[in-house]
């Protein structure tokens, strides 16, 4: 029995040591908290997101694809976004009861009953159908906690200039992923740019760049209602 305990201790020790090596920078957390506080206080918001994502093509070469998204949310249960890019043009409408995904290229759409708040809807639609909403990560209510949980090393790396704007630069890493976040050094401390590098997958990158933030804009409810364009077809959807 003693031998068994000894063997377990020997095997477990390196993992415990590894776990204890987590390095969390308090300044980085302070900045992320402040950013999340501002986002959590918003009753409505709109912004523009330009993003790029790397994908492996049939020849296993990396291809970069670009997207431009316009997003508007009104709390707690209204969301609309439109995305145009070289991999397709689509939009989401969410009115608190139904979520519709419409493909402009295929002129077809999926309408699903949805939960009654934005975050639960986004999470549910991703989990069940793999729908990805533009920059949704930043709107999770426990964003900072999520980062702290998922990454071993979170560091504040000083201020950098993005588009002529001074930003706080934060890097979070774990063995699989490197995430870099630029937060505007302004009163509002909103996200400016994010880069995700998949270290375990050919260093594929996702980059998102925020512009045109509008805080608490007045938005008419009608923009969250989907009206099928002429000839648009309601199609079925396969759950994951």
């Amino acid at each position: 029995m003693k031998k068994l305990f000894f063997a377990l201790a020997v095997f477990t020790f390196p993992f415990l040591v590894q776990a204890q090596e987590k390095q969390i920078d308090s300044t980085a957390i302070f900045i992320l908290d402040k950013m999340s506080d501002v986002i959590g206080d918003l009753a409505s918001v709109s912004f523009t997101l330009n993003s790029s994502v790397d994908k492996l093509n049939a020849d296993s070469n990396i291809e970069k694809h670009y997207k431009h998204s316009e997003v508007t949310m009104v709390g707690p249960d209204k969301f609309v976004s439109r995305t145009q890019g070289d991999q397709g043009n689509h939009a989401f409408w969410y009115n608190g009861e139904f979520m519709t995904y419409y493909s402009f290229d295929e002129n077809n759409y999926v309408t699903l009953e949805a939960p009654d708040n934005i975050i639960t809807m986004i999470d549910s639609m991703y989990t069940r159908f793999d729908f990805r909403f533009p920059a949704a990560d930043f709107f999770y209510p426990s964003f900072t906690d999520d980062i702290m949980e998922a990454f071993d090393n979170i560091q504040y790396n000083g201020q950098k200039t993005v588009d002529g704007e001074s930003c706080f630069y934060i890097i979070a890493t774990n063995p699989d992923t490197n995430v870099q976040i630029w937060v505007s050094n302004t009163m509002n401390m909103l996200p400016k740019r994010m880069v995700i590098i998949q270290k375990n997958k050919e260093n594929l990158q996702y980059e998102a760049h925020f512009t045109k933030w509008e805080l608490n804009p007045e938005v008419p409810n009608s923009i969250f209602e989907f009206t099928p364009p002429p000839g648009a077809k309601l199609i079925s959807i396969l759950e994951k």
């Binding site: 068994l4 959590g40 009861e97 949805a114 934005i118 975050i119 989990t127 560091q155 079925s236 396969l238």
Partner: protein, 353 residues
């Protein structure tokens, strides 16, 4: 023997404990980052859950107070929540220490996404009677629209279960190696030889003698023949075949159905097209059915993955599978493609990951 049993249990228990300590728990990925805490998947330091952040254990616990900020009731995300402790022993940057311990950890009960106010675990009533999409699962259970009350117009598709037998829509694997990487979705890989090229599904019309699935007639022509097929339950199903269309007898007449795999008929309509299965095999395609020629005539065979067909009959259903839209007939998925400028379909090979 009796003395070994308790020892064995002890060893097994220790092994489980060891594995629990050593094997990392993969957080579920949401959107592009994992959101273990938001989604209720992670433990939190504020609950004393033994988190592994670096900090001296001797440090006194910070007083937990409720935040003084108030979140607007109509916040876009219900307000920022902080469950993990923000007590840092020393900042690792040049930032003054007064900022480091300023934050206090809060412990809101509504921090988890799934537990938030108004979370939607219970199905809602579709009071507006809006048409919604059918939700399909990989085992073909339709779960869509089951929660509707007064469900009189929500099902967009005709129920083809009678005419669209799963047994007759199973796909044979392609013998040709795929050079394109598969499309991955929901734990399955979808293989095709040609790239996805969307075009709307419009059922193909094979001429006046062909009847789509579900077509009803009170009587058949004298040229109709009877074809008996042994089904999965070892019972014999009796089909009536006439000019490329198969019928099942009902109380009032006959209804057109999908061609049963294994049916052998002496002839098929001249409109049947020859389709390439692989370098050595060709099938004949008519009315959504694939035939192999033999000495006696033609035998209905299962579809073979990779086969390209020019048109699809009625009874299919356009289904969004991740980022692509396939046409589904039972277990068969057809990918829209383009060949020499013409819209066609390729049969998809689906494999579990």
């Amino acid at each position: 023997m009796n003395t070994y049993l308790p020892k064995l249990k002890t060893y097994a228990g220790l092994l489980v404990l060891f594995l629990a300590l050593v094997l990392p728990l993969k957080s579920i990925k949401a959107q592009r980052l994992g959101h273990g805490v938001s989604r209720g998947g992670g433990h939190t330091m504020s609950r004393g859950g033994g988190h592994t952040m670096s900090r001296p254990s001797s440090r006194p616990k910070a007083t937990r107070t409720m935040p003084t900020r108030s979140t607007p009731s109509r916040s876009i995300n219900g307000g920022h929540t902080k469950n993990k402790s923000r007590n840092f022993s020393k900042p690792t940057t040049k930032t003054p220490s007064r900022t480091a311990n300023k934050k206090v950890s809060t412990n809101r009960n509504n921090s988890k996404v799934t537990n938030r106010k108004g979370s939607n675990n219970a199905p809602k009533l579709n009071t507006r009677n809006k048409k919604t999409s059918n939700i399909k699962t990989k085992n073909n259970n339709r779960v869509g629209n089951k929660t509707h009350i007064g469900n009189n117009n929500v099902n967009i598709n005709v129920n083809n279960s009678r005419h669209n037998n799963i047994r007759n829509t199973r796909v044979r694997s392609s013998s040709v190696r795929y050079t394109r990487p598969p499309y991955r979705y929901g734990g399955h890989r979808y293989y095709c030889h040609r790239p996805y090229y969307y075009h709307p599904y419009r059922p193909f019309y094979w001429g006046p003698v062909w009847h789509p699935w579900g077509y009803f007639v009170t009587s058949l022509a004298t040229t109709a023949i009877i074809v008996s097929i042994v089904n999965d339950d070892d019972d014999e199903d009796e089909y009536h075949y006439d000019n490329g269309t198969y019928y099942l007898k009902t109380e009032d007449g006959f209804v057109a159905v999908q061609a049963p795999v294994g049916a052998e008929v002496p002839s098929i309509p001249k409109e049947a097209e020859e389709v390439t299965v692989n370098e050595t095999t060709n099938n004949y395609y008519y009315g959504g059915a694939f035939y192999e020629k033999n000495a006696e005539g033609y035998v209905v065979v299962p579809a073979t993955a990779g086969t390209i067909v020019p048109g699809l009959p009625e009874g299919g259903e356009e289904v969004k599978v991740g980022e692509v839209t396939y046409v589904q007939f039972g277990d068969t998925y057809y990918q829209p493609i383009q060949v020499d400028g013409k819209n066609m379909y390729e049969i998809v090979e689906v494999k579990a990951e």
